[in-house]
């Protein structure tokens, strides 16, 4: 593989798979704080 192809493959992996990782972390963090039955302040 050429250098530019390797770089773009890594960029794609980091951005898309990393983006998925961040999205999962964001969501799982939030559920910890989710107010059960209590009305939510706006």
């Amino acid at each position: 593989m050429s250098g530019s192809a390797v770089v773009m493959m890594i960029v794609a992996m980091v951005v898309i798979w990393g983006g998925l990782g961040l999205a999962v972390v964001n969501l799982s963090r939030y559920s910890g704080e989710e107010p059960g039955e209590a009305p939510r302040d706006l």
Binding site: A5, M8, I16, N26, L27, P39
Partner: protein
């Protein structure tokens, strides 16, 4: 996550609901990750700039794909109904939009099932490489027995039997309901699909020539970024692959607990879909690199997409690769799993619409939708004349069905009903990721602009030359006919009365419901 008392809330239980946010996310990923992720994305990326494609692709994902996904979620989650009911609750005149989407799903369902049936058959063919040394001749000759374009009733048993099996599976899953059927199937199938595909990718990466394939896929062609066609391809890929704009995500979102973080879930679903696509690109091009090397040709001579990739190129790879049978079972098995989870989401849009309109039980609505769909599917596509019909309907309903209804819906909701501020406020009630005004600009402005551009281009292409070289009657009656037919269906369905038991008023917003819950005020 839905609290126990929320899940047991009588009106919600009546419609059906996912038991948790996790199940909803898996079901939504199941719907989004379909055949297009595996056989469309790799070639689109390769053709449109290779490694450089990641830039327009990301812009399309973040600028239009995820915002549109959240738009669908917001409608279903806010209005708590199938597509027709949600739009009817949004506006008295909106119902037609929902039925238009239902009609499109009904049409897609009948032919999508056929491709799954083929993949099912090829999973078995892989074990003994039944295609011999001529996968192309085998596919169209021995297996599909393709005749000249026409409509006939010469059944092909090799397609008929697996097709009936697919419809029986769909009937069982959808008959079991939202959680026990769709939810349970997704919880089992999606992890299984990911594991199977990972195994396939690992195996493909060890094939000689794999690096050559990846090199072809990822070598950037920066000049491609100056081409509007490449940007249109990126938006088109994101749009088709996410299953947005034709009712699926509205329907699924209506089954989700009222306090679920929909925006955060949408980000996970959107990125999961792309993550799977990228994985598919790596696996497919590693395998294509092997095939190119084995035949002493360059990758561009073997690179292809769609049916040709799955049913002609892959069989050739399976025949030549070490442990080819295993590659075949994993590849076609993944196609079946990805296809089934998408098919049930498409059919559920129809069932949900019928259920809300007539207030039928789950079993009655499932039978009323799945049995006729299965019959049409078998009569039209399990025959020697099925392939040209399938190809034609697929081409037209994607462009002049899905893209068109998406543009019209987003324009009407934004500019006629002016619902975006309300939808945004709804999404921001319970969220880890608040939507700013930028979301309204992306959904109401950028997305319809880009989709209209794509639509005009497709329209010009379709008029310039007859698609696939098929006869005019086929293109007119089944191609344009299916695109226009779903609109006629929508108008008629919208004129029919609702069951008196279906509440058509706008559900109270979350804040009101929370304070009214103790008094037992129901939303429908």
């Amino acid at each position: 996550m839905a609290s126990p008392s929320e899940a047991a809330h009588p009106p919600e239980a009546h419609r059906g609901a996912f038991s948790s946010r996790r199940v909803f996310i898996l079901a939504a990923i199941g719907s989004a990750a379909g055949l297009g992720n595996i056989w469309r994305f790799p070639y689109v990326a390769y053709e449109n700039g290779g490694g450089a494609f990641i830039l327009p692709y990301l812009v399309a994902l973040l600028g239009a794909g995820i915002p549109f996904l959240l738009f669908d979620y917001a409608i279903g989650h806010r209005f708590r109904g199938s597509a027709p009911l949600s739009f009817r609750r949004m506006s008295r005149t909106g119902e037609m939009l929902g039925w238009w989407q239902v009609g499109i799903c009904a049409v897609i369902g009948v032919y999508y099932a056929v491709i799954i049936a083929w993949a099912l058959r090829y999973t078995i063919f892989s074990t003994n490489e039944a295609w011999g040394d001529d996968p192309n001749g085998f596919l169209f000759g021995e297996f599909l027995q393709v005749a000249d374009p026409g409509i006939g009733l010469d059944f092909v048993p090799g397609v008929l039997v697996p097709l009936i099996l697919v419809w029986v599976v769909v009937l069982v899953i959808l008959g079991l309901g939202v959680q026990r059927g769709i939810g349970a199937a997704s919880v089992v199938f999606i992890p299984l699909m990911i594991v199977a595909f990972l195994a396939l990718v690992v195996q493909a990466l060890f094939l000689p020539g794999a690096a050559q394939g990846l090199n072809a896929l990822f070598t950037p062609d920066w000049a491609a970024l100056a081409d509007t066609g490449v940007w249109a391809a990126a938006f088109g890929q994101i749009f088709f692959s996410l299953s947005v704009g034709f009712g699926i995500m509205i329907t699924y979102a209506s089954y989700v607990g009222r306090r679920t973080d929909m925006t955060g879930s949408g980000l996970v679903v959107g990125f999961s879909n792309s993550a799977f696509e990228l994985l598919a690109g790596i696996g497919v091009f590693a395998a294509l690199g092997f095939m190119a090397q084995a035949n002493g040709v360059s990758v561009d001579e073997v690179a292809t997409s769609g049916l040709g990739l799955a049913f002609i190129a892959f069989p050739a790879i399976i025949s030549e690769a070490p442990a080819g049978a295993l590659i075949g079972v994993l590849f076609f098995g993944t196609l079946v799993l990805a296809g089934i989870t998408s098919l049930i989401s498409v059919i559920e849009v129809v069932i949900s619409g019928v259920r809300d309109k007539l207030d039928l039980s789950r079993t009655a609505a499932t039978l009323a939708v799945v049995v006729p769909s299965g019959l049409v599917s078998v009569l039209l596509f399990a025959t020697t004349t099925g392939v040209p019909i399938l190809d034609t309907i697929d081409y037209f309903i994607n462009r002049f069905g899905i893209v068109l209804v998406a543009v019209v819906t987003v324009l009407v909701v934004t500019w006629a009903y002016r619902e975006l501020p309300d939808l945004r406020a709804h999404m921001n009630l319970t969220t880890s990721f608040p939507l700013g005004r930028w979301w309204m600009v992306l959904v109401g402005g950028l997305t319809p602009l880009v989709l209209t551009f794509i639509l005009v281009q497709e329209f010009r292409d379709a008029l310039a030359e007859p698609y696939g070289g098929y006869p005019a009657w086929l293109l007119t009656f089944l191609g344009w006919g299916s695109a226009v037919g779903v609109i006629v269906f929508a108008i008629v369905a919208a004129l029919l009365p609702w069951s008196k038991r279906t509440r058509l008023d706008k559900p109270a917003s979350l804040v009101t419901v929370t304070s009214d819950r103790s008094s037992g005020k129901a939303e429908r």
